[in-house]
């Protein structure tokens, strides 16, 4: 999907939908649009400029025996994304993570929202794997879209509420 017209109109934008993941190299830009309680997880090897993005919906697969592994679930998304990154030539010890999203869109829904549970799960999983979490733009009550530039490893976050934020 072409998110931006020129400059760089020839740059491929890969849209990562709910429960999907993608791994790419420059000049591709990986994008996830309209993240609410969902979380966009990026992994990046800054030396090889290989990056991956997963569009995660839930903290864990509730029925691992029945539902196949999917990037929909944080635990499996991280494992799948790491595998794909390493297959693409990334080095495990250089991987850096960023997470965006995990909002609580409907303010008065009671209890701990699914967004916060997604964030907590990812922090825990990344810590377990020893992958540094180098930047976050999470929580709050607003939707976000992200574009992940594989040249620089920068993640551009856009929202109606707060404009742009570069991670």
């Amino acid at each position: 999907m072409m998110v931006n017209a020129p400059p760089g109109a020839d740059i491929e934008h890969v849209l990562v939908g709910i429960g999907e993941l993608a791994v790419a190299r420059p000049p591709t830009i990986l994008a996830a649009l309209g993240l609410g309680s969902c979380v966009g997880l990026t992994l990046y090897d800054p030396v090889k400029h290989i990056g991956g993005l997963a569009h995660i919906m839930l903290p864990a697969n509730p029925q691992p025996a029945r539902l196949p592994p999917s990037a929909r679930f944080a635990d499996q998304a991280l494992a799948l994304l790491m595998t794909r990154m390493l297959e693409a030539g990334a080095h495990r010890e250089r991987l850096e993570a960023k997470i965006v999203g995990g909002a609580h869109m409907f303010a008065s829904l009671t209890g701990q929202g699914i967004g916060q549970r997604n964030i907590t799960a990812l922090r825990h999983l990344l810590h377990q794997q020893g992958i540094p979490l180098v930047a976050t733009d999470v929580g709050g009550q607003w939707g976000r879209s992200i574009e992940f530039d594989l040249h620089t490893g920068l993640v551009r976050v856009r929202s109606f509420r707060h404009g742009e934020n570069l991670l």
């Binding site: 429960g19 649009l33 967004g115 109606f160």
Partner: protein, 202 residues
Amino acid sequence: MELGETQLDALKEVGNIGAGHAATALANLTGRKITMTVPGVHLVPLEQVAELVGGYEAPVVAVLQQFGGEVRGSILVVLTEPNAHRLIRLLVTDASLVAQPLVAHAGRLRHVVGVLIISYLTALSQFVGRWLEPEEAQVAFDMAGAIIDDVLAEISQEADVALVIETEFHAPDAIGDLVAGYMLLLPGLDSLRMILTALGVD
């Protein structure tokens, strides 16, 4: 879950009955004739639901009503910003009040859409002979994709698809424009089975 034509037709009938009641309630509230139709009942892959409501990044006003009890699920009403403004004009005659930004009308939008949803749910509950209890309606102004995330996350714990009963409503506002809105009924999987059983088409 597989749904044949008989099941989808029966679910469309449920939608029509709910829509009829909701139209009457909205007409009583606004003093204007409201038309509600059920253009379709679909099983939609979760990743495509955002497209149904205008696309991931479409700016929308949404009211979410979750319900529990014997039948559980969610109803989401989605209005584009121009349509939300038209709905405000249906409800408010004071021009300076109408001119305020949509966020200032959050309570009013939640109330009027809430009335519409409750009448829909009451009809649904009576028709299938099952008890349900609506939770408090919530309103949000943001990207369509972000707004639908919570609902999809709930559904995705047990299914890859959402049953979506679409409803469109139309009403002429004070200057003759039509208000058009979109309502999605998203029952839980076990509730869907219960509804089909109650209709005799399981």
